[in-house]
Subunit: 320 residues, 2 copies
Amino acid sequence: MAVYTEVGDGELIEFAAEYDIGEVLSCKGIAEGIENSNFALTTSHGSYILTLYEKRVNPDDLPFFLGLLDHLAVAGIPCPTPVHGRDGRALRQLCGRPAAIVTFLAGMWPRRITPDHTAEVGRALAELHLAGGEFTMARPNDLSLAGWRPLLARSDSRADEVAKGLAAELSAELDVLEKNWPENLPSGIIHGDLFPDNVFFQGGRLTGLIDFYFACNDMFAYDLGVCLNAWCFEPDLSFNITKARRLLTAYRKVRDLSVGELDALPLMACGAAMRFLLTRLYDWLNTPAGAMVTRKDPLPYLARLRFHAGVNGPADYGLG
Amino acid sequence: MAVYTEVGDGELIEFAAEYDIGEVLSCKGIAEGIENSNFALTTSHGSYILTLYEKRVNPDDLPFFLGLLDHLAVAGIPCPTPVHGRDGRALRQLCGRPAAIVTFLAGMWPRRITPDHTAEVGRALAELHLAGGEFTMARPNDLSLAGWRPLLARSDSRADEVAKGLAAELSAELDVLEKNWPENLPSGIIHGDLFPDNVFFQGGRLTGLIDFYFACNDMFAYDLGVCLNAWCFEPDLSFNITKARRLLTAYRKVRDLSVGELDALPLMACGAAMRFLLTRLYDWLNTPAGAMVTRKDPLPYLARLRFHAGVNGPADYGLG
């Protein structure tokens, strides 16, 4: 739940007048997202999402994020499209924060994941990777290999509060990742955070991809690693090979994987599990009890990490 | 901010199928209201609000609240209208909670109150009082005179943590209220909580009254007392007589006040200030620091109480 900045009616009406979106009819804070303040904005022209960017987003990254959404929307990716003001700008200030209006996407994120969902996600991810090809801006992935060792160092001394031996296990696993991380796999724009709550469906069809605030340039196979973690484990943390097979097969129908990518999949999935484990671990240890944000348990990512570390090859993901 | 119950896509689609509202397009938790979980529900037929009633609402009161909204909507009051299912029922279960769908009202609540706003509120309040006349169900006001002494008793021992001498001052003021509280003033359905965040405006016109979960049977003049407290004090707690005059004058154009009501206004306003002071005081002393709910400072209601206690008559509210 998150609305960090309250937007007054007067300020909003003045803000909205910079756009060609008609008269403001209502604006309600949405209890979703933990990074920014989001509002369901209804005008005489239709429905929009108004976002005020809060402290956790670097304002210098906003032109990249909004430019990327512009680019992807033109390419037919079902993502929020920034609405540009009469002056051409998509980004301006509201209540002292950077703010933007984007189009509203129909659909709901799925709570009970089926193999049909993962097939849709695989297809959409490949389409996203292809569509990002012509985008000219770039943003490095702060949360990839080079970032993990420093991130672990920030939780190191207290990691064993969460699970005994955790610090040592993660350090050893980082050794493996650092030794084997590939450098020359196909790369481009990745979503970086394509979890179920960032994907909308309607009547079984994927209707929207949202929350591009971790998008960056990195290996496409790493994005698949994120999705294997996000979509293919059951609530009891068992791996569902059918969901993985459907996800990867649907992906390959749109963008086939090279031999190098296939071989690297287990390592990419380990890396992705490490990334979410480390950020959750840090947040877990540093979020005061009773804070307005719900802490997410890091340990399910330790189970995922161990699974991928034990995978022998693509066949364990249902391929081949 | 409040969404206490998360509603899954599958459960929602099944729930919505009981109504004639078309296909569900989206459903987003709204970060407003502290009593219930509210969602902005969009379907192929339009926009609605879905409410799941949480613990603070007594389920036995729900037929009264929903019946009242049905009644008021028919009478032309701009309030949320319950949507009835194909079986005729407006109230059913979702995620183990009582739940209802109501129509969506355009407009935003005003952050900077002007005398034009208070005139609109006065008119709408009188229309509401008249429209409630034919409603056949009844609900006593738990938070009126008989409830205040027990409510104070629950905070008594710690009231002086908030302001020195507060317990004694409130007890003395309760003596005055108990001694003078009238019994025979015109009564009927009152809103009971008509604060700015429960009133929507658009282009200066009042477009909606919401949040009827304190509605009950009580004296109309008491509802005016609530509004004098809610709408006619500036942020520095000074009383704005122009706002009061506009509110009361607009009210009287629709439903005139008897001599008894006019005379009782200061006492009614004292009582209303006492009611909000006592509930806020209790919540202030009993809400853990860092809870998901923002505590509201009770002391601005002490200032209001003192103001009304010093009023000599209707002239001090701008009536001449």
